[in-house]
Subunit: 469 residues, 2 copies
């Protein structure tokens, strides 16, 4: 093993990060001001604007080959690189995304979604601040500090910043085929995941998969007077409630037959590792915003972490019939829902989607017409966090955060991680990120802990050093 | 019994109605152009504008004492009278309403809700055309024809046109107390009900009651990421579906314990009368807009008419969680529904409301917080259609429509009919109207059959004559 004089990253690098911190946060705020919502129905020009801003930031930092790449029909990718460490040095592929989720119900934001605002709690609030614009800026801060101070990086880096992660990364496979050379690397660094808690650095070693099925139920072809027809004529809202209620039992466990059949059992050591993690039920309830009286649900034989990271779960993530404000004592003709199932890592997504569709289509209440559309079906992912890259990541996180990192699962899904790392020859994938329990990524009032952001910038500087050793 | 020379109404009266028909329809169109939606959230100035237009039409027709009456906090009533038939002649109190239901989903109207449009099917389409602006115009056409031709009416009439029938007639009791003299009459003529079918004149002898309970269910205090939290944390949409599904069994019968206990049994003769009515299941399914495969629901031991007119029925008449268009893989924090129950005539509305609230509040799924708001609780009504006023109505309808009228129930609710007729000393209440199966009152594309409208104008002219004999 080489003796690396640059491990951990020298003090002067850290000092530059600190001196530029305010400017970095301002860059983050500027980027998060751009409403780069990739979902259908939002202005795609904003996603392009955000790509342009990322490219500008990359150029300013001294990265090379900065490009905005547009595949037909896709939101733009931004790529950049710095390969002057030479062919013998390892290459890290750093991935983040610049698109964001829709802001949701604007009236529920305490400060506007696209006017990022710092509050007295030390957090920055705004759509995309933690998911995933911080993931772009934290590496950029580290790269810039190295380049400003030393004129070079300890390793080669390639950066890919995607513009449609929040809508399923549909063009990533094509992008990979078309621009394969931009991906070749020895290690993947993906900054879009969570920490177990604020201030606790975490390496994510598994992701859940996800399926989503849009359900449209119709019983009659137009709304009709509930008095004139109610009794013999079914309504779509009641029928939809009946259909959805079949999906779970009273404890919230999924009743779709066969759904749990391919859930991998945890090994004794995996279970022991889970049990070793700190868990504070009161804090968990508070961070989830659970109301007094609301019960934790699911099969109690599995711990809360196991239920989130390693077991499937079902939720109705969209529901619409007739809004109360315009309802007029009608039998509702059409009601819709989205049924989302998060899959245990290792479950077959297509198989579960088929089971769910079959279940929803079979014997609908009152003979209603049920239209089903599988909009998402991606499997989960799991890695064994062993080898020099993971060791480097652990040391970098420990140096940046001042405490040993923990290994966690992620209940969320990042569809491309599996295919990505396998196409790249199974290179180690380091999943790091800043989403902490109160961050409310995807929700209203999304936020980023600014102390953790600083620690993450430091950790990135250390990681570049550690990977170079 | 007097020999009445004016029974049925003389040919010249009918001719005037026919000559003015086009103008009457234009008056109806003009009135229906005013979006007089009484519901909260709509411009109350439009309800005032509609009152002013009704008052203008009344004055133009030669009615006396035309007034717009405003109780504090209420939409305006329009009253008018013609009492020159003298104290010995009977007095009819003619009731209708000039407010309308909200238009619902505007994009579902084939022609704009407030631009009444005649189509080739002989119907006029627009919000309020049948419910209940036709109910105003048909009597006005008859009154005007009598006054234009003879300079007098066969009886005294008082007209009361309400501005908040569609929101529960909340101020009618106060109005009755304050302006009692405007109500004293020998017979109530209420034109806001249905005909069994287009072209079949019908006397409505019962109304169902109605309760409505708004349900707000919360499990968490803000939406959170379905991956990061899904499994142990409940979502409001699934929990609401579970709660609503408890309300009915697989056949659609209501499962709230005790709810059917006070449903009056039909007598053998009532049942025989129901069975004598023509029923065409295919036409019923078509008029209801039932989709292929959709099943008629409810307890098959009761006929379809019995289920609509004499049995309680439950529907979820509003449903909202997160719209699909803005849903972002969140656990939904709050979901809402309105549960409506139509009550059999004779059921105790407050009792059923209590039963429903108790049922919804008890042991909510996952310990969720359930907020319940009883927004409506009105009993049904039933009359025995015997005596000279009912006989007069039967003859007038037969003369106007060219066929004997049938007696029907009404599955809808007109909250004030019961209290109204009892305060007025139990005077006979003639419930007549033009809502036919395809009219879609309260729904989108509400419409009026213009041939039936003309027959109803004739019938009203005959009714004035018949009541005078």
């Amino acid at each position: 093993m080489l003796i690396c004089s640059t491990v951990p990253a020298p003090r002067e690098i850290i000092d530059v990060i600190d001196r530029r911190l305010e400017a970095t946060v301002e860059d983050l705020i500027g980027l998060a001001r751009i409403p780069s919502v990739s979902a259908t129905g939002f202005d795609p020009a904003e996603v392009s604007r955000s790509a342009e801003r990322v490219a500008e930031l990359f150029s300013d930092a001294g990265l090379h080959g900065v490009e905005i790449l547009r595949l037909a029909g896709a939101h733009p990718y931004v790529t950049a690189q710095w390969l002057d460490a030479g062919p013998k040095a390892p290459t890290a592929l750093i991935y983040a995304h610049h698109d964001v989720q829709p802001p949701g119900r604007l009236e529920h934001w305490k400060t506007p979604a696209f006017e990022p605002t710092r509050r007295a709690d030390g957090r920055l609030y705004g759509r995309g601040v933690v998911d995933d614009k911080a993931g772009i800026l934290l590496h950029l801060a580290a790269i810039r500090a190295w380049l400003d101070t030393r004129g070079s990086l300890p390793i080669n880096v390639k950066l890919i910043v995607e513009g449609e992660e929040e809508i399923g990364s549909d063009h990533l496979a094509e992008f990979l085929r078309t621009h394969r050379e931009r991906f070749d690397a020895d290690v993947l660094v993906l900054s879009d995941t969570a920490n177990l808690d604020t201030g606790i650095p975490s390496l994510t070693t598994s992701l859940r998969g996800m399926i989503a099925v849009d359900v449209t139920l119709r019983a009659i072809d137009h709304p009709i007077h509930s008095g004139m027809w109610g009794g013999p004529v079914p309504d779509a809202a009641t029928a939809l409630a009946m259909l959805l209620a079949r999906l779970v039992d009273d404890s919230g466990e999924i009743r779709v037959p066969g759904l749990y059949d391919d859930v991998p059992a945890l090994s004794a050591s995996q279970r022991a590792a889970l049990e070793a993690l700190p868990f504070d039920e009161a804090a968990f309830r508070r961070d989830a915003g659970m109301l007094e009286g609301s019960r934790l649900i699911g099969d109690k034989r599995h711990s809360v972490y196991e239920r989130i990271w390693h077991r499937p779960s079902l939720a109705v993530t969209a529901l619409e019939g007739m809004p109360l404000a315009i309802a007029g004592n009608q039998l509702i003709a059409e009601a819709k829902a989205r049924v989302g199932i998060r899959l245990a890592p290792g479950q077959d997504a297509d198989r579960v989607a088929r089971l769910l569709v079959d279940f929803l289509a079979s014997d609908p209440p009152h003979g209603a017409t049920v239209e089903l559309d599988v909009t998402t079906a991606v499997p989960g992912w799991r890695t064994t966090p062993e080898g020099p890259a993971f060791d480097a990541a652990r040391r970098a996180l420990a140096a940046g955060f001042g405490r040993e990192p923990v290994e966690i699962g992620c209940g969320g899904s990042i569809p491309f991680v599996g295919p990505f790392s396998s196409v790249l020859g199974g290179i180690p994938s380091l999943l790091l990120g800043l989403e902490d329990p109160p961050c409310n990524a995807h929700g209203e009032n999304e936020s980023l802990d600014l102390d953790d952001f600083q620690r993450a910038c430091w950790s990135s500087a250390h990681l570049l050093a550690e990977l170079g050793c």
